[in-house]
Amino acid sequence: MDISIQNLGKSYGLQKAVDGISFDVKTGEILGFLGPNGAGKTTTMKMICNYITIDQGDVIIGGKSVKTGELKKYIGYLPENNPLYLEMPVIDYLEFCAALQQVPKAQIPDRVRQMVRLCGLNVEKHKKIAELSKGYRQRVGLAQAMIHDPEILILDEPTTGLDPNQIVEIRELIRQLGRQKTVILSTHILPEVEATCDRILIINRGKIVADGTADTLRKQSQGQQVIRIKIDDANTESAFQALSGLPSVGMVDIIDGTNGRFEIQSKPEMTANKDIFLLCAKNNWILSESIPFETKLEDIFRDLTLN
């Protein structure tokens, strides 16, 4: 099922939490939802799940508006702080959720067993949720979101509180699920978005500020290609002069004069690699390192949201 968000808006008093955002998510796509605290991520997710009322615009899932309230059973939702009935044992809780999501009674034990296996809850399944650690509670939260095999998964910070091994497992799980389902997940952990998501959406103050894959975002924010090189057996000063003189090179920085390290920024829409290599070959310099410098997602994020 595709999700189409059309000019969605929500205000709290005078403050616009979500300010007319529009985007589409297709089946088989994992969308990473990024933004600083208070950007409107959670509000948007709550509106998609029809938990809070929509002030403006609409969310259309599979051709139907969520305002009808009929779409809840197609959505699996993991709320932000993962609220659970602490007094219930894990198995009972999952059975309760399955029954509420209209899983046929005969299939409930099977689904619960699958979820327990999938989320690694086997050891803890008879404990009360209150007795579980944060990581295990998070797994229960994921299990309850997926219990009815929903078409759409909305996960608000799914990996908080998990240990590194579990994070890898959950990411893998989300990737797998993402092949047939529509997934929207929000997170603060930027490498996670790169590892899991097909597409990244950054919002700030209720507005979309970036939309694309990690690569396209990088290209957009970075502009020119940057490489770091190391040249052995060369006089720093003459190497600097020669490099600056190349037609494709925009700017040269000496990082470490004694070791011959430079940072080179190409001119717009040009790559300097070839020219640099030929220059070194001509002068018998040894080009011992050449590292394309990637802008980190963190920097893009900071650029777009700090203003």
Partner: protein, 238 residues
């Protein structure tokens, strides 16, 4: 399975998972039993084979007992955020409210079931009026339904259980005796209006063995209005 019943079952079980159900059953049966059989104007002083004593005691014990079971119903869900998890499942606000209402009513019915030995004992002791007694139990259930409705409404307003408890008692006290008090103190139209509003008047007429549709409609409309208000309250979020 109907979502209402799924919720009712979970809520009912959760009474017994925590100590709430045991403590309240114990307190209810303890108080009611003590005053019915052992102390004050008890059955032996009255020397009549009926449960009027129990019915007037239960009228008060349930009045305190019910806000204690309804206070957490919605207030706690709101405080811990579980209401978000619940309402994003394939259920409507109404189904949640009705499910919780039924679970509380079921718990009260269990409490009343434990007083059946009173009925049996008195029936052994003398010639009990079965009609009036069954009518009395029916009245207790109707009254409980009304207070559960009020309790759920109070619980839907706040996310603090103590506030919900006190608010339920505060609203309840008007129905329980203030309206009655005003009705006896005033005459004419005003007296009649408060007479109609007073829960105790309707209750008294039922436990006397007179089953009037007016009384039944009275109780059911309190249930209906308070549940609708509770539903409206939980639908206002974010």
């Amino acid at each position: 399975m109907n979502p209402v019943w799924t919720i009712t079952k979970r809520e009912f079980n959760s009474f017994f998972d925590s100590l709430v159900a045991y403590i309240l059953l114990f307190a209810f049966l303890g108080f009611s039993g003590f005053f019915t059989w052992l102390y004050g104007a008890d059955i032996f002083i009255r020397k009549e084979a009926d449960l009027q004593v129990f019915f007037s005691i239960a009228f008060w014990t349930l009045f305190f007992f019910i806000p204690a079971i309804t206070m957490r119903q919605l207030a706690e869900e709101k405080k811990t955020g579980t209401i978000e998890m619940l309402l994003t499942k394939a259920v409507t606000d109404r189904q949640v409210v009705v499910g919780k209402f039924l679970s509380c009513l079921l718990l009260v019915c269990v409490a009343l079931l434990f007083t059946l030995p009173y009925y049996i004992s008195v029936a052994q002791l003398g010639n009990i009026d079965h009609g009036a007694t069954i009518c009395g139990y029916f009245g207790l259930i109707l009254m409980s339904a009304a207070y559960i409705g009020i309790g759920l409404f109070a619980s839907s307003i706040t996310n603090n259980q103590i506030v919900a408890f006190l608010l339920a008692l505060f609203i309840g006290i008007f129905f329980h005796f203030i309206f009655n008090f005003i009705a006896s103190a005033s005459t004419g139209m005003l007296g009649e209006i408060f007479d109609t509003l007073s829960l105790s008047r309707h209750y008294e007429s039922i436990i006397r063995g007179v089953l009037d549709t007016k009384d039944i409609i009275y109780f059911l409309s309190i249930v209906f209005i308070s549940l609708v208000l509770a539903e409206i309250n939980i639908s206002k979020r974010g």
